[in-house]
Each structure stands twice: as structure tokens, then as C-alpha cells.
């Protein structure tokens, strides 16, 4: 999905100069679209194939949460390896403040991974997955996306995005502290 988004945007923007804000927005939308199918690979497959109970008996909730988190983080890493060069080639070069881009990529990746892991666990245990997924992820992802887009826009303009980065890393801290705790409450009914 991420690749399709980047290719689609790349063709739509062919020959045009995109503003910094638009470039930043398209970049993170492509990353988000690419990460969404990972939700199904995390917990939904475990519930659908019936292996979730085996996993519940096998391991502590925190181990399961961080194990799945690592799986999603690896996907984010692989996805970035494909999407970033493709985006630079088809849409716009990843230009501006390199250090800021790296921090945004790290912080954004941590938060996206945490939100998707947590939402995947919650959604997997219900029967109305589509509706619940949208309802759950929207309030969690919207502030993150706004901070990432604002930070990336500043990075493209060559400015170090101190405030958006503070927000992203604060959000990451809150998610790492609360994510595993919330997960433990929902994992075993």
C-alpha cells in the first residue's frame, strides 16, 4: 500500500514543485498506509488462526507486547528501506536538515509501531474490526501525524524542528509507559 501510494503521488506530482508542507504530508501518509497492513500480521492473524490462546499461556503479556512491537518495528525498518528511496526518486528528495529527518524517522517509527501494536491487540479481540480500528487509531494517530508533518516541513526548510520533536518523543515516552500496561489489561480478557 505504501509503494502504491508513493507511485500514485509520484505520477500525480510529475513535473510539479510541491510545497514543503505537502511533501511532508505525503511522506508520512505513505508511511502510514504502508504500515497499516502490518496490523493484520500482528494480532489479528493470531486470533483468526486460534493461536492467540497458546500465546497467552506461553508468555507474559509484556513479552508478547514487546515481541509484537519488535515485529512491527522490523516491518517499519524494511518499509522505510523501500519507501524512502522510492519517495526521493518519484516525489521529492529527502532534503533539508538531515539530523532532524533521522530523529523524526526514529521517533515517528517508535510511535507508529506502538500505536499499531496496541490497536492491533485491541481490535483483534472484537468482531467489528474495521469500524473499531478507524475509531481507535484516529485519535491516537492524528496528533502524531500533525507533529510529524510539522516537524518534517521544518526539516525540509532546513530548520531544526525542536518543538515537534519534543512532542513526538514525549508521545513516544507516554506510549512506551502506557502501551504495555494497557495491553496487559486487555490481553487476557
Amino acid at each position: 500500500m505504501g509503494v502504491a501510494t508513493v507511485v500514485g503521488v509520484g505520477f500525480a506530482a510529475l513535473g510539479q514543485t510541491l510545497s514543503a508542507g505537502l511533501q511532508a504530508g505525503l511522506f508520512w501518509v505513505a508511511v502510514l498506509f504502508g504500515m497499516f497492513p502490518a496490523l493484520a500480521r500482528g494480532f489479528i492473524v493470531e486470533e483468526e488462526t486460534g493461536t492467540a490462546d497458546l500465546l497467552r499461556v506461553a508468555a507474559r503479556p509484556a513479552s508478547v507486547f514487546w515481541g509484537k512491537w519488535l515485529f512491527h518495528a522490523t516491518l517499519y525498518l524494511l518499509l522505510s528501506g523501500v519507501l524512502v528511496p522510492l519517495y526521493a526518486l518519484l516525489v521529492a528528495p529527502i532534503a533539508g536538515h538531515g539530523g532532524a529527518w533521522l530523529l523524526l524517522w526514529l521517533g515517528g517509527g517508535f510511535c507508529l509501531t506502538s500505536v499499531l501494536t496496541l490497536c492491533g491487540a485491541l481490535v483483534a479481540q472484537t468482531t467489528v474490526r474495521g469500524a473499531l480500528l478507524a475509531g481507535l487509531t484516529f485519535p491516537l494517530l492524528l496528533p502524531l501525524m500533525l507533529m510529524l508533518i510539522a516537524g518534517s516541513r521544518q526539516a525540509i526548510e532546513g530548520v531544526f524542528p525542536a518543538e515537534p520533536l519534543q512532542g513526538v518523543f514525549g508521545y513516544a515516552l507516554a506510549l512506551s509507559a502506557g502501551g504495555a500496561w494497557v495491553f496487559e489489561k486487555v490481553w487476557r480478557e
Partner: protein
Amino acid sequence: MQQWTLECRRLGKRFGERWVFRGLELELATGAMLVVRGANGSGKSTLMKLIAGLLAPTEGAVALRCEGGAVSDRTRFLGWCAADGALYRELTGYEHLRWWAQVRGLPDDRDALMAQLDRFELAPRAHDWVRAYSTGMRQRLRMAIATYGDPPLLLLDEPDAGLDASGLKLLRQVLDEQTRRGIALFATNRVECAAWGDLALELGA
């Protein structure tokens, strides 16, 4: 030998408006083998899942005690095997047991794992994918996993499903061994197996 006790106090589970059971009192100590019987839908699997900690009770509580002291996370001390319990089809039987051993912090050396698989007559097919296993072989693998590391509490939910005569003999051995070191709960609808336990609980009666 450590003294383990399993206690269920006023245990009840409701799904929607329907109570599966209510006010269940149970106390089992090391050496006990309880056979749980009942018609389909009577709550055998629900009871097993409540004891395993896979479901939260609507009312009442379950506790596992060791030498009188409550165990905080009883899931770590139990072996669980359900006839409908899924296995990872993309793993081999050996990989499955190794995964279990690693996650549970049990010995994961080849000899120990192969000895356990051999005990359940799975050694010749240890490196075959689980998806290529027959129903009976999958059930044997579930039992091999559930009993690996000699857990003090063994919960077997219709483990006799799909087992042939030698599988049933093996199951009987597993249950007898369990009662020498801990507690066994065994849900079944099979008449010949229902007589194995020294205690019986009839649900839905």
C-alpha cells in the same frame, strides 16, 4: 515434593445474559485428578479457560497456591492442551516445542526436546511441518507441549479427541504421572476416559 493447591471460590461465568455456571466451589491438592464432564455447551472449556487465566470470571476467583502461598501469575505454572487449540502451522513439531521451551525458559537443547517428542511418538516426524500432521499427531504435539517441563497444574480440555488406542494409553500415562507431582484437570465426553479420575465434576447437571 511441593504441595500445590488449586482453589475456585464462588466461580461464575456469564456470556451476555446466559450464565454458563455459577457458584462453583472447588479445591484440589497435589495428587488430585479431576475429570470434568458435561454435555456440549455445559461449560467444560469455559471452566478450563477460567482456570488457565484465559478468561476472566464474571464472579468469584481462581487461585493457585504453592505451600500455602498464592502464586501471582498461575499461567506460568500450567500446561494447557485443548482439542481445538491451534498450533503454528508454519513450524515443525520440533520448532514448536523449542519455541515453547524458549518462551517458558525451559531446557531447549536438542536431546531434551527430542526425548519429549519421542515420548509422544513424534520423533520420526519431528521435522515435518505441523500442517502435515494428522489430527491425532497434532493432539500428541499439544500434549507434548503441555507436559514439557512438568508443570504443577495440567489442564487438558478433551485431549482424547482424535487419539487412537495407543494415544489414549499415552494420555492415561500422562495423567498418572501428573498426579504424582501435581494436579490434573481433564475434560472429556468419552465414557471410557471419564472413569480415569479420582474426582468428577458434572457440569450442566
